[in-house]
Amino acid sequence: MNAIAIAAIGIFIFLLGYRFYSKFVAEKIFRLDPDYVTPAHRFKDGVDFVPTNKFVLWGHHFTSVAGAAPILGPAIAVYWGWLPAVLWVVLGTVFAAGVHDFGTLVLSVRNKGQSIGTLADKLVGQRAKILFLFIILILVLMVNAVFAWVIANLFITFPSSVLPVFIQIPLAIWIGHAVYKKNVKMLVPSLIALAVMYAVAILAAQVDFLQIDLVGYMGGEEGAGLFGLGAVSSAFFIWILVLMGYVYIASTLPVWKLLQPRDFINSHQLVVGLAILYLGLLFTNPEITAPITNPNADDVSWFPLLFITIACGAISGFHGLVSSGTSSKQLDKETDARFVGYLGAVGEGILALVAIIAVITLFPTKEDFLATYSNFQEASAGGLGAFVQGASQLATGLGIPAEIAATIVSIIVVSFAATTLDTSVRLMRYIIAELGSEYNVPALTKTHVATTIAVVSSAALVLIPEGPQGFGSGGYLLWPLFGTSNQLLAGISLLLISVWLKKLGRNYLITLIPMIFLLFMTLYAMVQQVLFEWAWWGDQPSSLLFIFGAIIMGFAIWIVITALSALADTKQTIDPIE
């Protein structure tokens, strides 16, 4: 099967979804009103509430939600063959993610631009708000652990990416300084920074001593590392410590110093990455060598694990935070919500789709694919590496040498992951502080106490060794837990939208069905994993995964109960003409 055809069909369905389904949802269900005074106009303050052109707002929304997650999930999920992954990404985006992102945006716009957390309190009650806080807490904890693992993993697999990634830090600080202190326009400095990074990447890909290869320094994979550990484990340990030290500093700095300028560079990288992948796809015109469905995948069933392995890219609760946090305050006209929210989700779907294509066209034959994706564990550990190589193979179609392309693609993924890590450690710090003030523990509200707790707990989670291979071997095991907590967050948002639609007396099936689907899949997966795999009587006992899985399962049950009671209690109370 030809890969261009898959991409074309996928994008065509996305466009159909936008043209017809989102139009139906926007006009018939939400009944958007072009004359409604949006919060951006009503509370216009020039800071948070600013009416913004829909194209600009979409660009900002898309660059805020797209990251490393829609790449990693699909790269693992192709283990079950390409068809299930493609179907879930395409249909999930059209029927779940689009409606979710669009719905949270409209819900927030119709409620003074308030965020999901506040709306949970307002629409369902205090319990829902606390539930929401805890789910976010566990989600950011998972994000910290998983993304630290992702970065360390890429640093070890592609040592040439280390230097360019670290060069990004002083460059970002320089941009921050130029833009905020000297008032220089940011386009040029950020493009210069990107050029410097990629120049260093090209050098590092070809000059050995510019590659920070910790494993190599310790005598290769068989070499001895620190404290009697193997070389790979030691390298992983060192990278995690370095990363955690870095995020500690990065997340306590003001956002304009490092985080924002790095985002400017990352926006370019998103454009560069998508351009390389899609143009490369057009020029190389590769054949898909991966199987449609994997006949050997009998260790872990695709049902229901596929639906939590691909979270971002099909549906992600994190988008609701962006929709209701910033985008809703800047929406010029209510009818723009369809363009910004729905197409924002489609943008991420397009990224996930090409991530799948990069992996399924990488291998020369089906046998090679099956050898690399030999079991779910291998798929989880090696998926990201396969994506980087697949993407660099596509890039060769543009005349970029594979070595250099691999370095650049791994830099792009690491940059996304690092920004996510930085943001989520920051978020975790705020949540710990909020819980501290809620429960009267003033020590927790101190920046450095909260950050230390956030960083140490994340490091502990990712460093806990799984099995005999030592540090770093088990990081990918957390991925399904990350997916699950992200889906639960989406579940809460969908519940809030359903409750709101019911209060308006509208048909709320369009959000209720994805919600039931998501909650069913996450509960099913957690029961299966927690009770039959990770419990001490299960197949692969692991007390750490068991505890976290059990907590998430508890939350899932809690949401189901909250949903049932909230929807049962809700009556049409809002005057639709309001």
Binding site: V47, G59, H60, Y180, S190
Partner: protein, 86 residues
């Protein structure tokens, strides 16, 4: 024609990039204004102005800014005998 389109595209791209930046600048400005107004009017709304109490403690933090300020205001030497920055 083509050039105009490219220019429009670059302008669009720059606007997308600078959105959070504009917001952050505006926020910093607003925070400064809020603090300024609070210091001006705090006593009118019944809040004792902390500036009087803490001036001595603020001294090390503001001495450099104060120095820059009186230079900008066209005074070569510190106009206040209590603050001797130069």
């Amino acid at each position: 024609m083509m050039l105009d389109k490219v220019k429009a595209l670059i302008a669009y791209y720059e606007e997308v990039l600078s959105m959070p930046h504009r917001q952050e600048i505006a926020r910093e400005h607003r925070d400064e204004d809020d603090l300024f107004l609070l210091l001006l009017y705090s006593e009118m709304i019944g809040i004792p102005n902390p500036v009087y109490y803490y001036t001595l403690e603020l001294y090390p933090y503001m001495i450099e800014k104060f120095h820059d300020w009186h230079l900008r205001m066209g005074m070569e030497k510190s106009p206040m005998s209590g603050i001797r920055c130069c």
